[in-house]
Symmetry: C2
Subunit: 129 residues, 2 copies
DNA sequence: TAAAAAGTATAGCTATGGCTACATTATAAT
DNA sequence: ATTATAATGTAGCCATAGCTATACTTTTTA
Protein backbone atom coordinates (compact mmCIF):
# COMPACT_ATOMS: atom_id res chain seq x y z
CA UNK A 1 0.00 0.00 0.00
CA UNK A 2 2.47 2.56 1.26
CA UNK A 3 5.15 0.96 -0.86
CA UNK A 4 3.96 2.64 -4.00
CA UNK A 5 4.53 6.00 -2.39
CA UNK A 6 8.04 5.00 -1.44
CA UNK A 7 8.75 3.94 -5.00
CA UNK A 8 7.37 7.20 -6.31
CA UNK A 9 9.62 9.06 -3.89
CA UNK A 10 12.60 7.16 -5.21
CA UNK A 11 11.88 8.28 -8.71
CA UNK A 12 12.21 11.94 -7.81
CA UNK A 13 14.82 11.52 -5.11
CA UNK A 14 17.86 11.73 -7.32
CA UNK A 15 16.34 14.61 -9.23
CA UNK A 16 15.78 16.53 -6.01
CA UNK A 17 19.33 15.93 -4.85
CA UNK A 18 20.72 17.23 -8.12
CA UNK A 19 18.53 20.31 -8.13
CA UNK A 20 19.40 21.12 -4.54
CA UNK A 21 23.09 20.85 -5.29
CA UNK A 22 22.78 22.93 -8.44
CA UNK A 23 20.87 25.63 -6.58
CA UNK A 24 23.52 25.66 -3.85
CA UNK A 25 26.31 25.92 -6.39
CA UNK A 26 24.58 28.75 -8.21
CA UNK A 27 24.23 30.57 -4.93
CA UNK A 28 27.74 30.03 -3.68
CA UNK A 29 29.85 30.00 -6.84
CA UNK A 30 27.57 31.68 -9.31
CA UNK A 31 27.70 28.67 -11.58
CA UNK A 32 27.03 24.96 -11.47
CA UNK A 33 29.34 22.63 -13.33
CA UNK A 34 29.14 18.91 -13.83
CA UNK A 35 32.46 18.30 -12.15
CA UNK A 36 31.24 20.00 -8.97
CA UNK A 37 28.05 18.01 -8.90
CA UNK A 38 29.94 14.78 -9.40
CA UNK A 39 32.28 15.69 -6.55
CA UNK A 40 29.43 16.60 -4.25
CA UNK A 41 27.69 13.32 -4.90
CA UNK A 42 30.82 11.23 -4.95
CA UNK A 43 30.10 9.77 -8.38
CA UNK A 44 31.88 9.69 -11.74
CA UNK A 45 31.54 12.71 -13.98
CA UNK A 46 30.12 10.56 -16.72
CA UNK A 47 27.31 9.52 -14.43
CA UNK A 48 26.54 13.11 -13.52
CA UNK A 49 26.60 13.98 -17.18
CA UNK A 50 24.07 11.34 -18.03
CA UNK A 51 21.70 12.44 -15.29
CA UNK A 52 22.09 16.07 -16.29
CA UNK A 53 20.97 15.06 -19.75
CA UNK A 54 17.88 13.47 -18.25
CA UNK A 55 17.15 16.52 -16.12
CA UNK A 56 17.38 18.61 -19.24
CA UNK A 57 14.92 16.66 -21.33
CA UNK A 58 12.64 16.46 -18.32
CA UNK A 59 12.66 20.24 -18.21
CA UNK A 60 14.35 20.91 -14.89
CA UNK A 61 17.50 22.53 -16.18
CA UNK A 62 18.94 24.28 -19.22
CA UNK A 63 22.44 24.04 -20.53
CA UNK A 64 24.54 24.32 -23.64
CA UNK A 65 27.23 21.75 -24.41
CA UNK A 66 30.41 22.36 -22.40
CA UNK A 67 28.68 25.16 -20.52
CA UNK A 68 27.37 25.45 -17.00
CA UNK A 69 23.92 24.56 -15.78
CA UNK A 70 20.90 26.70 -15.06
CA UNK A 71 17.60 25.87 -13.45
CA UNK A 72 14.34 26.32 -15.29
CA UNK A 73 11.34 27.63 -13.38
CA UNK A 74 10.24 24.06 -12.86
CA UNK A 75 13.70 23.24 -11.59
CA UNK A 76 13.81 26.22 -9.27
CA UNK A 77 10.50 25.29 -7.75
CA UNK A 78 11.51 21.72 -7.01
CA UNK A 79 14.88 22.85 -5.70
CA UNK A 80 13.20 25.29 -3.38
CA UNK A 81 10.78 22.73 -1.99
CA UNK A 82 13.59 20.24 -1.50
CA UNK A 83 15.72 22.78 0.28
CA UNK A 84 12.91 23.66 2.66
CA UNK A 85 12.29 20.02 3.46
CA UNK A 86 15.96 19.46 3.98
CA UNK A 87 16.26 22.27 6.50
CA UNK A 88 13.21 21.18 8.46
CA UNK A 89 14.39 17.59 8.71
CA UNK A 90 17.95 18.61 9.50
CA UNK A 91 16.86 21.00 12.23
CA UNK A 92 14.53 18.39 13.59
CA UNK A 93 17.24 15.77 13.89
CA UNK A 94 19.55 18.22 15.60
CA UNK A 95 16.86 19.23 18.06
CA UNK A 96 16.30 15.56 18.72
CA UNK A 97 19.83 15.53 20.04
CA UNK A 98 21.92 14.33 17.13
CA UNK A 99 25.32 15.69 16.18
CA UNK A 100 25.57 17.73 13.00
CA UNK A 101 27.29 15.02 11.02
CA UNK A 102 24.73 12.32 11.76
CA UNK A 103 21.87 14.76 11.38
CA UNK A 104 23.17 15.81 7.99
CA UNK A 105 23.69 12.24 6.82
CA UNK A 106 20.28 11.03 7.95
CA UNK A 107 18.47 14.11 6.69
CA UNK A 108 19.81 13.37 3.23
CA UNK A 109 18.01 10.06 3.16
CA UNK A 110 14.93 10.95 5.16
CA UNK A 111 13.90 14.20 3.50
CA UNK A 112 12.58 12.44 0.44
CA UNK A 113 10.26 10.22 2.43
CA UNK A 114 8.55 12.68 4.71
CA UNK A 115 4.95 13.61 4.06
CA UNK A 116 3.66 17.13 4.49
CA UNK A 117 1.87 16.07 7.63
CA UNK A 118 5.06 14.81 9.17
CA UNK A 119 6.93 17.92 8.11
CA UNK A 120 4.33 19.98 9.93
CA UNK A 121 4.86 17.96 13.10
CA UNK A 122 8.59 18.36 12.78
CA UNK A 123 8.26 22.12 12.41
CA UNK A 124 6.07 22.23 15.47
CA UNK A 125 8.66 20.24 17.39
CA UNK A 126 11.43 22.51 16.14
CA UNK A 127 9.64 25.58 17.41
CA UNK A 128 8.99 24.08 20.81
CA UNK A 129 12.56 22.97 21.38
CA UNK B 1 29.56 12.76 1.20
CA UNK B 2 26.39 11.49 2.88
CA UNK B 3 25.02 10.64 -0.51
CA UNK B 4 27.00 7.44 -0.73
CA UNK B 5 25.30 6.18 2.40
CA UNK B 6 21.92 6.96 0.93
CA UNK B 7 22.80 5.04 -2.22
CA UNK B 8 23.98 2.10 -0.16
CA UNK B 9 20.71 2.18 1.77
CA UNK B 10 18.80 2.04 -1.48
CA UNK B 11 20.59 -1.10 -2.50
CA UNK B 12 19.33 -3.01 0.53
CA UNK B 13 16.02 -1.25 0.84
CA UNK B 14 14.03 -3.47 -1.45
CA UNK B 15 15.63 -6.54 0.03
CA UNK B 16 14.61 -5.45 3.52
CA UNK B 17 11.04 -4.80 2.45
CA UNK B 18 10.77 -8.24 0.90
CA UNK B 19 12.24 -9.98 3.92
CA UNK B 20 9.97 -8.12 6.29
CA UNK B 21 6.93 -9.07 4.25
CA UNK B 22 8.02 -12.68 3.98
CA UNK B 23 8.58 -12.88 7.73
CA UNK B 24 5.17 -11.39 8.36
CA UNK B 25 3.51 -13.82 5.99
CA UNK B 26 5.28 -16.77 7.57
CA UNK B 27 4.04 -15.62 10.96
CA UNK B 28 0.47 -14.92 9.97
CA UNK B 29 -0.26 -17.49 7.27
CA UNK B 30 2.44 -20.02 7.87
CA UNK B 31 3.69 -19.62 4.33
CA UNK B 32 4.90 -16.90 1.99
CA UNK B 33 3.89 -17.03 -1.64
CA UNK B 34 4.91 -14.81 -4.49
CA UNK B 35 1.36 -13.73 -5.18
CA UNK B 36 1.00 -12.42 -1.62
CA UNK B 37 4.25 -10.50 -1.78
CA UNK B 38 3.26 -8.95 -5.09
CA UNK B 39 -0.07 -7.92 -3.63
CA UNK B 40 1.50 -6.45 -0.54
CA UNK B 41 3.90 -4.40 -2.61
CA UNK B 42 1.43 -3.52 -5.31
CA UNK B 43 3.60 -4.86 -8.11
CA UNK B 44 3.24 -7.46 -10.83
CA UNK B 45 3.87 -11.06 -9.89
CA UNK B 46 6.56 -11.33 -12.51
CA UNK B 47 8.46 -8.54 -10.82
CA UNK B 48 8.20 -10.22 -7.44
CA UNK B 49 9.34 -13.44 -9.01
CA UNK B 50 12.43 -11.84 -10.41
CA UNK B 51 13.38 -10.24 -7.12
CA UNK B 52 12.77 -13.49 -5.27
CA UNK B 53 15.25 -15.13 -7.63
CA UNK B 54 17.79 -12.48 -6.69
CA UNK B 55 17.13 -12.89 -2.99
CA UNK B 56 17.70 -16.59 -3.46
CA UNK B 57 21.08 -16.36 -5.14
CA UNK B 58 22.07 -13.71 -2.63
CA UNK B 59 21.36 -16.21 0.11
CA UNK B 60 18.46 -14.56 1.91
CA UNK B 61 15.77 -17.10 1.10
CA UNK B 62 15.27 -20.69 -0.02
CA UNK B 63 12.61 -22.02 -2.28
CA UNK B 64 11.79 -24.75 -4.76
CA UNK B 65 10.07 -23.96 -8.04
CA UNK B 66 6.32 -23.46 -7.62
CA UNK B 67 6.71 -23.77 -3.86
CA UNK B 68 6.56 -21.24 -1.06
CA UNK B 69 9.42 -19.22 0.35
CA UNK B 70 11.52 -19.69 3.44
CA UNK B 71 14.09 -17.43 5.06
CA UNK B 72 17.66 -18.55 5.52
CA UNK B 73 19.46 -17.61 8.72
CA UNK B 74 20.90 -14.60 6.91
CA UNK B 75 17.42 -13.68 5.77
CA UNK B 76 15.95 -14.08 9.24
CA UNK B 77 18.57 -11.83 10.72
CA UNK B 78 18.00 -9.04 8.25
CA UNK B 79 14.22 -9.41 8.54
CA UNK B 80 14.47 -9.14 12.30
CA UNK B 81 16.62 -6.01 12.21
CA UNK B 82 14.31 -4.40 9.68
CA UNK B 83 11.26 -5.23 11.73
CA UNK B 84 12.79 -3.65 14.82
CA UNK B 85 13.68 -0.50 12.94
CA UNK B 86 10.24 -0.34 11.47
CA UNK B 87 8.57 -0.54 14.88
CA UNK B 88 10.81 2.11 16.39
CA UNK B 89 10.23 4.55 13.56
CA UNK B 90 6.52 3.84 13.41
CA UNK B 91 6.10 4.32 17.15
CA UNK B 92 8.15 7.48 16.99
CA UNK B 93 6.02 9.00 14.29
CA UNK B 94 2.85 8.16 16.18
CA UNK B 95 4.22 9.69 19.37
CA UNK B 96 5.10 12.74 17.35
CA UNK B 97 1.39 13.10 16.80
CA UNK B 98 0.77 11.52 13.43
CA UNK B 99 -2.22 9.37 12.59
CA UNK B 100 -1.61 5.66 12.02
CA UNK B 101 -1.97 5.81 8.29
CA UNK B 102 0.53 8.60 7.77
CA UNK B 103 2.88 7.14 10.34
CA UNK B 104 2.79 3.79 8.57
CA UNK B 105 3.34 5.32 5.15
CA UNK B 106 6.24 7.50 6.22
CA UNK B 107 7.86 4.81 8.36
CA UNK B 108 8.04 2.64 5.27
CA UNK B 109 10.27 5.13 3.54
CA UNK B 110 12.18 6.46 6.53
CA UNK B 111 13.19 3.23 8.22
CA UNK B 112 15.83 2.47 5.64
CA UNK B 113 17.57 5.79 6.11
CA UNK B 114 17.87 6.03 9.86
CA UNK B 115 21.26 5.52 11.48
CA UNK B 116 21.68 3.63 14.72
CA UNK B 117 22.32 6.89 16.51
CA UNK B 118 19.04 8.33 15.32
CA UNK B 119 17.21 5.14 16.22
CA UNK B 120 18.55 5.47 19.75
CA UNK B 121 17.24 9.00 19.98
CA UNK B 122 13.88 7.89 18.68
CA UNK B 123 13.69 5.12 21.26
CA UNK B 124 14.53 7.59 23.99
CA UNK B 125 11.79 9.88 22.74
CA UNK B 126 9.35 6.98 22.59
CA UNK B 127 9.98 6.08 26.21
CA UNK B 128 9.57 9.65 27.39
CA UNK B 129 6.28 10.21 25.62
C1' DT C 1 -10.70 -37.46 -13.45
C1' DA C 2 -10.79 -33.87 -16.60
C1' DA C 3 -11.22 -29.01 -17.20
C1' DA C 4 -10.86 -24.42 -15.29
C1' DA C 5 -8.54 -21.29 -12.41
C1' DA C 6 -4.80 -19.77 -9.87
C1' DG C 7 -0.10 -19.44 -9.15
C1' DT C 8 4.59 -19.48 -10.87
C1' DA C 9 8.19 -18.97 -14.34
C1' DT C 10 10.38 -17.02 -18.39
C1' DA C 11 11.27 -13.85 -22.16
C1' DG C 12 11.87 -9.49 -23.59
C1' DC C 13 11.08 -4.72 -23.20
C1' DT C 14 11.84 0.13 -20.63
C1' DA C 15 14.15 3.36 -17.50
C1' DT C 16 17.45 4.43 -14.00
C1' DG C 17 22.00 5.02 -12.16
C1' DG C 18 26.41 3.20 -11.46
C1' DC C 19 31.12 2.31 -13.84
C1' DT C 20 35.46 2.64 -17.26
C1' DA C 21 37.53 3.94 -21.43
C1' DC C 22 38.04 7.06 -24.85
C1' DA C 23 36.97 11.32 -27.73
C1' DT C 24 36.25 16.06 -27.91
C1' DT C 25 36.17 20.90 -26.47
C1' DA C 26 37.58 24.76 -23.46
C1' DT C 27 40.67 26.83 -20.57
C1' DA C 28 45.13 27.68 -18.61
C1' DA C 29 50.06 27.88 -18.92
C1' DT C 30 54.24 28.23 -21.21
C1' DA D 1 50.04 30.54 -30.42
C1' DT D 2 50.77 26.09 -29.12
C1' DT D 3 50.54 22.72 -25.82
C1' DA D 4 49.07 20.70 -21.69
C1' DT D 5 45.34 20.13 -18.51
C1' DA D 6 40.77 20.19 -17.12
C1' DA D 7 36.09 19.65 -18.17
C1' DT D 8 32.60 17.64 -20.86
C1' DG D 9 30.63 14.27 -23.80
C1' DT D 10 29.84 9.57 -25.78
C1' DA D 11 29.89 4.58 -25.99
C1' DG D 12 29.22 0.50 -23.97
C1' DC D 13 29.05 -2.29 -20.07
C1' DC D 14 26.47 -4.00 -15.48
C1' DA D 15 22.64 -4.44 -12.04
C1' DT D 16 18.15 -3.22 -10.46
C1' DA D 17 13.23 -2.86 -10.68
C1' DG D 18 9.30 -2.05 -13.16
C1' DC D 19 6.02 -3.83 -17.02
C1' DT D 20 3.24 -7.19 -20.44
C1' DA D 21 2.71 -11.37 -22.73
C1' DT D 22 3.07 -16.08 -22.77
C1' DA D 23 4.19 -20.72 -21.08
C1' DC D 24 4.01 -24.03 -17.66
C1' DT D 25 2.59 -26.23 -13.01
C1' DT D 26 -0.37 -26.90 -9.31
C1' DT D 27 -4.57 -26.69 -7.21
C1' DT D 28 -9.40 -26.45 -7.23
C1' DT D 29 -13.78 -27.50 -8.86
C1' DA D 30 -17.24 -29.39 -11.47
Amino acid sequence: MSFKKVRDAHKTENTEDYLEIIADLLNSKGEARIVDIANHLGIAQATANKTIRRLQYQGYIKKEPYRSIFLTLKGQELASISKKKHIIVLTFLKKLGLDSKTAEADAEGIEHHVSDKTLKKMEKFNKKN
